[in-house]
């Protein structure tokens, strides 16, 4: 199969997956809560309007929202309307009292926090994990390998909320270097001071997420590097008389990192899951925190949007990994 054919096939599969995900999403948030929890969707999905407005105005707004969200339609039309909304990113309005306004505004307000935290900590832990993995593989069976292997396995087995709790207790309660609730702390500042406050509040969740993610990268990298080290070209590089450092970090690392990247794309969902717990423990107002808060306040429109966006990101990351892999390794295209 040509590269183009491969790409077309992957794109088609991704499209089908997205449609199924959207259907699950519809079922989960537009059907299940009302069947299981017995909530009337019309009452629920239409935002509460301040009683200071006159009744005529309220009725008009309600009707507008109901027809906009399609609650006056039969379920199949509602599904179509819903599919349409996924393309326009119009997810309805926040309900449940914690937030107000359109969900898309809420998302664009909180997404940057998650992108900042997750992106940063992922990059850092990826780099540390890669180097530690290669280092460990190069000293296989020796004390340095064993020590780093066991300690990283220990980190890998730690519940993310436990790491968070311990960091919080040590740094926020005993030493009092960091704020205990990021959101409350950051909201005290404006302007340039705000960005400083963000950095300060981010330190603990960043450290926590980094510690959690290093283990996974390290373990995959170590086994990947162990395999690469048996390859002939590594032997060749050594035979050539290259210095061990060059062999490790130029030949081994570069070749071992490819499978790790694809594994990372697949495990992005798990990384996002880690963010839910970490953001909740530290009160970091990102999408992970709101995944939890939205369910507690029964803000289903917001939950639905976040869930869809997380799925979309995972699907796109998988697609990117597939395409990258197909591009790098022609054998896959079969």
């Amino acid at each position: 199969m040509s590269l183009l054919g491969y790409i077309v096939k992957r794109l088609a599969i991704t499209a089908v997956i997205m449609i199924v995900i959207a259907a699950i999403n519809f079922l989960l948030f537009q059907v299940l809560p009302f069947v299981l929890l017995g909530i009337n969707p019309e009452v629920w999905y239409v935002p509460a309007i301040s009683t200071s407005h006159n009744l005529q105005y309220i009725t008009k707004i309600r009707e507008q929202v109901i027809s906009e969200l399609g609650f006056n339609l039969p379920i199949q039309d509602r599904f179509l309307r819903y599919m349409e909304s996924l393309f326009t990113f119009h997810f309805g309005y926040n309900v449940g009292g914690a937030l107000s306004g359109p969900v898309s505004t809420t998302i664009s307000r909180f997404a940057p926090y998650t992108i900042l935290l997750l992106g940063g900590s992922t990059v850092v832990s990826f780099i540390i994990g890669e180097y530690l993995g290669v280092f460990s593989a190069s000293r296989r069976g020796r004390p340095a390998d064993k020590a780093s292997f066991v300690s990283l396995l220990f980190l890998y087995s730690m519940p993310s909320f436990w790491i968070g709790m311990i960091l919080l207790l040590v740094f926020a309660y005993y030493i009092r270097l960091a704020p205990s609730s990021a959101a409350a702390y950051m909201s005290q500042y404006t302007g340039a001071a705000y960005y400083l406050a963000v950095l300060k509040a981010m330190a603990l969740p960043f450290l926590s997420l980094t510690l959690i993610s290093i283990g996974g990268f390290y373990l995959i990298m170590r086994s990947s590097a162990l395999e690469v080290m048996n390859e002939d070209y590594v032997l060749m590089a050594r035979a050539k008389g290259l210095r061990e450092r060059n062999v490790l970090y130029k030949h081994v690392l570069r070749n071992a990192v490819i499978p790790v990247m694809t594994v990372f794309a697949i495990s992005l969902g798990f990384v996002l899951s880690g963010a839910v717990i970490t953001e909740t423990v530290f009160g970091w107002p990102g999408l992970g925190y709101w995944t939890y808060m939205a369910i507690l306040t029964q803000d289903f429109p917001l939950e639905q949007a976040i869930f869809f966006i997380i799925s979309l990101m995972v699907v796109l990351a998988n697609l990117a990994a597939d395409l990258l892999y197909g591009f790098l390794d022609p054998r896959i295209r079969r």
Binding site: R140, F161, G269, F270
Partner: protein, 509 residues
């Protein structure tokens, strides 16, 4: 590889054996929980709130913390009794209500009561009977203690009321009025904190305790000055205390008489050190919560992993062995499951489960089902690719050439060759489930009342992080966390060891 030699290799694999030992340790703990820690932890106070583990009293900052202490025993024969003016008493054998001993903390049934009969002149206030008990207290003040007595009026004639009065004489001679209970109006004169006067059979039970509702421990300070209603205020010195229980009669308009039985006076000090792991904010035993918590972790981790691997194994083998449309369909379904974000979906579904009383009853069963449904695709993928490689091997092709059917090839060639992967996957899937289960309990501590490690951590965190309490019970934090880490780690170690044993490529040359 024959199974016996695999077992032998496992026995010689040091990391694998460390894993096995830890798993067996927690497995025994889970199985023998009722024998190790008693019946499932009840929501009762076994000691004072925030009690440290008993062994922690070896450290200087915890020296002198009181254990659970029966300061004044409930058997009246050990007390010094005296009748007041115009009254007399005799010790009589009584039958205590059986529910009493277990229900209110009267720890030992006493067969004796004081039967008091007194003539009460009009308009007077007479102490008709006094019981004293002197005890030595040589610890730091407790947060909480409880005391009380049983009283039964046999005949009450022409008197306006009679009281049960509790006094505490401190080492320096100061007399503290703890409370007075009016038997006829069932009311307390001094409100100590948690008061209870109720009827049990023929008896009036007077039962009081200083309580420490959730407080800020740091604000209490060492002396407890300014704090009302805590044990810190009353038993704040070392030395000999005397608890005095008096029956006081209040005369009516004409000469009257009173005949009353008094039994079971007692004072019990709730400890600030208790057991192996101390207590939580309500004085509940943490050790038994810890032991019972191992059950859920083990149960959810193992069962979810078994279901996941069984489903994944069969679907993977079918997908790999049949190929074509079956393979394509199964793998596309797997793709969909693989991109669903696991924890957010679990959070949503657990929330919905907790909203329905019917589903919430079997929360952990649903969790197991949920985990298995969401996790089989990863296993199926691995098994499928292994199946594909096995299928291409020479001997399988030879078997096919000899006319072997698909069933024969699957059962004789493919299944034996994927079993190593199955075993390793069984172990390697467990940690994720244990951690996710703990995380869900952490996020939804109210979803169930079953004690779990995640729930313990969640509650400990609530008290530590809440701005009102700030109480950091390190003994409440450390142990469930370490247990989760150790158990997950042990399964990872076992999984890696199995991987290494069955996968010679990974073995050291």
């Amino acid at each position: 590889m024959p199974r016996e030699s695999a077992l032998k290799l496992l026995l010689h694999n040091r990391t694998g054996m460390v894993g096995v030992v830890i798993i067996v340790f927690f497995g025994l703990m889970a199985l023998l929980a009722p024998y190790i820690a008693g019946p499932s932890p009840a929501q009762t106070y076994v000691t004072g709130p925030w009690a440290v583990p008993a062994w922690a009293t070896a450290f200087p900052q915890y020296w002198g913390l009181p254990p659970n202490l029966e300061a004044a025993p409930p058997s009246l024969t050990q007390w010094a009794g005296a009748a007041g003016r115009g009254a007399g008493y005799e010790m009589v054998q009584v039958q205590p209500p059986p529910a009493l001993v277990s229900g209110t903390g009267y720890s030992a049934p006493s067969a004796y009561a004081a039967l008091i009969s007194a003539a009460v002149p009009p308009g007077s206030e007479d102490v008709v009977y006094t019981a004293n008990y002197t005890f030595n207290y040589r610890y730091r003040p407790p947060y909480e203690f409880k005391f009380g007595a049983l009283v039964e009026p046999l005949s009450v004639d022409n008197i306006s009321d009679f009281y049960l009065r509790f006094l505490l004489v401190k080492p320096d001679g100061q007399v503290v009025h703890l409370t007075s209970y009016s038997v006829m109006s069932s009311s307390f004169e001094e409100d100590i904190s948690y008061n209870n006067g109720f009827r049990l059979g023929n008896w009036n039970v007077v039962y009081l305790s200083t309580t420490l509702p959730d407080v800020n421990l740091a604000a209490l300070g060492p002396s407890g000055l300014g704090m009302t209603n805590t044990g810190l205020k009353y038993l704040d010195e070392n030395g000999n205390y005397t608890l005095v229980v008096q029956v006081v009669a209040l005369g009516g308009s004409s000469p009257g008489s009173l005949k009353v039985e008094l039994a079971y006076p007692f004072l019990f000090v709730y400890g600030r050190q208790y057991g192996l792991l101390g207590s939580d904010n309500r004085g509940r035993d943490l050790w038994s919560q810890f032991v019972w918590g191992s059950r859920i972790s083990m149960e959810v981790g193992l069962l979810a992993s078994i279901f996941t691997v069984i489903v994944g194994m069969y679907l993977g083998v079918i997908s790999g062995a049949f190929g074509g449309l079956v393979d394509e369909t199964l793998m596309r379904i797997a793709d969909i499951f693989l991109v669903i974000p696991f924890l957010p979906l679990a959070i949503i579904l657990v929330f919905m489960i907790t909203q329905s009383a019917f589903l919430a009853k079997e929360l952990y069963l649903w969790l197991i089902v949920l985990f298995a449904v969401l996790s089989w695709p990863a296993v199926a993928r691995v098994i499928r690719s292994q199946t594909l490689t096995v299928k291409e091997r020479g001997y399988v092709e030879a078997a096919r050439a000899l006319g072997a059917g698909r069933g024969h090839i699957i059962s004789r060639h493919i299944l034996p060759n994927i079993m190593s992967l199955v075993y390793a996957n069984l172990a390697l899937n467990v940690p994720g489930f244990i951690l996710t289960e703990a995380a869900l309990d952490f996020l939804f501590p109210g979803a169930s009342t079953v004690p779990t490690w995640g729930r313990m951590l969640s509650k400990a965190f609530d008290y530590a992080s809440s701005a009102i309490y700030y109480n950091f019970g390190w003994w409440w934090f450390i142990f469930p966390g370490i247990a989760i880490v150790l158990l997950s780690l042990s399964f990872v170690l076992l999984g890696y060891a199995l991987d290494e044993i069955f996968n010679p490529r990974l073995r050291r040359r």
